[in-house]
């Protein structure tokens, strides 16, 4: 009876995703805050720039993407902090599942609660900035992929800086340069759609980014977590 049972990786990932979803639902402010931030900025821009829909719709792709990037940064700053403090991170490292797999459920849960939610409501925000509704599919698709890449990249930085006191600025310095290509591809896809061009190239780049990120980022996150546990 003392022998631990063999664990099946899929089952483990499912149970850990449930764990993180429960935690997110128990403190919904962590999920709502980035959305509220997003909404506030989108509301403020027309006030600052003037209500001319034509001018707003020119700037809208850039605004939407920069705000999505910043709210993603807010999420990444909180990513492993509680888990390091209460010992969850070291228990994660004790799991008999490779650490690079064991970190994925938390990212999945975070993405469901932030990236997915944000992408789904983004057409509404787009309308507020005068973005025509027929661009909405491109907006949603680019944000779905973009937030996933940014979360994966941000998690690498978060894993490295979680042990550092007030590592927020360090995290921003580390990962903002990596966000730049995502930002360019994202706004590019929207601009193309807006001006009657073909957004598929930029969207394909984002898709390649998600695939590459899913393959490589977990390895880097696991290495970062191991380093942070030594401190």
């Amino acid at each position: 009876m003392t022998e631990a049972r063999d664990i099946d990786i899929l089952h483990y990932c499912r149970s850990q995703t449930v764990r993180h979803l429960i935690l997110i639902l128990r403190s919904p402010s962590e999920m709502i805050n980035p959305l509220v931030f997003f909404l506030l900025v989108i509301v403020l821009f027309p006030l600052g720039l003037g209500p001319d829909p034509k001018q707003l719709s020119i700037l809208a792709p850039g605004i939407l993407w920069v705000v999505a990037l910043l709210s993603n940064l807010m999420i990444c700053m909180r990513l492993f902090v509680d888990d390091l403090e209460d010992g969850s991170l070291e228990q994660l490292a004790m799991a008999r599942v490779p650490l690079s797999v064991a970190v994925l459920p938390q990212l999945t849960a975070s993405w469901l609660a932030s990236g997915l939610l944000l992408s789904l409501v983004s057409p509404l925000f787009g309308l507020m900035l005068g973005l025509p509704l027929d661009v909405a599919p491109v907006l949603v698709a680019s944000l779905l992929m973009g937030t996933a890449i940014m979360l994966l990249l941000g998690a690498v930085g978060a894993a490295l800086t979680v042990g550092v006191q007030r590592g927020g600025i360090l995290l921003a310095l580390l990962i903002l340069p990596l966000y730049v290509p995502v930002l360019i591809a994202g706004t590019r896809s929207l601009n193309e759609a807006l001006h009657g061009g073909d957004p598929t190239v930029a969207l394909a780049l984002l898709g390649a980014g998600v695939t590459g990120g899913l393959l490589l980022a977990p390895l880097a996150i696991a290495a970062g977590v191991r380093v942070s546990l030594q401190l």
């Binding site: 003392t2 022998e3 049972r5 149970s15 935690l23 070291e90 004790m94 008999r96 599942v97």
Partner: protein, 200 residues
């Protein structure tokens, strides 16, 4: 290879520039109960963490151990926002996938029957410790590495834990724990005084 659950040879542990422990040699076999003893700051927790392979950079020497390890550290990976039942069911170490009945039995064994669905944040320090230790009553690995398992426990809690240690050893497992108090473990206990391994 022997059947040892953990074998350490000439292990030395460094923290920053200071050598905490040197030449630690230890062989843990099924049925062993080891208490790591020594004053504050001598390196009990560091040694235990090196056994758990949570501190690989600053550990030198040979260390081989079985994969079937359960480690409970100072902070017990409990989330205040979840109930004790959820904390055990979705534990990040994922060492076992307990059924609901097993979890309820484990919680009852540590005296927490009736608290299964309370918020963990509302429990007392001793009760939280008991939730963490309830993992020992689930199917949970052969080698237990426990950091200060007796802290915050009352007399009855300590007795329950000591009985559990003995049962685990008799079933072919082994326990390594750090503690300042002497445990009543019916002659099974070996004490490893870390003073003899103090580093330079």
């Amino acid at each position: 290879m022997t059947t040892a659950l953990l074998e350490a040879r000439d292990l030395s542990i460094h923290k920053g520039l200071r050598q905490l422990l040197k030449d630690v040699t230890l062989c843990i076999e099924p049925g062993d109960l080891w208490q790591l003893a020594g004053g504050n700051g001598i390196g009990k927790t560091s040694l235990l963490r090196s056994f758990a392979r949570l501190a690989s950079i600053e550990v030198y020497g040979d260390l081989s151990r079985c994969d079937d390890v359960l480690y409970i550290g100072h902070s017990a990976a409990l989330k205040g926002a979840m109930t004790p039942r959820q904390n055990l069911k979705y534990h990040p170490s994922g060492l076992c996938t307990p059924t609901d009945t097993e979890i309820d039995e484990a919680l009852a064994a540590v005296g927490l029957a009736g608290y299964e669905n309370a918020l963990t944040a509302r429990l007392s320090a001793g009760q939280k410790r008991r939730v963490a230790l309830a993992r020992l009553f689930l199917p949970s690995g052969r080698l237990w590495l426990l950091d200060e398992p007796f802290t915050a426990l009352d007399v009855a809690g300590v007795a329950v834990l000591e009985q559990r240690f003995q049962a685990h050893a008799q079933a072919g497992g082994a326990v390594v724990f750090t503690s300042h108090q002497s445990a009543e473990l019916g002659g099974l206990l070996s004490v490893l005084d870390l003073e003899q391994f103090r580093g330079d």
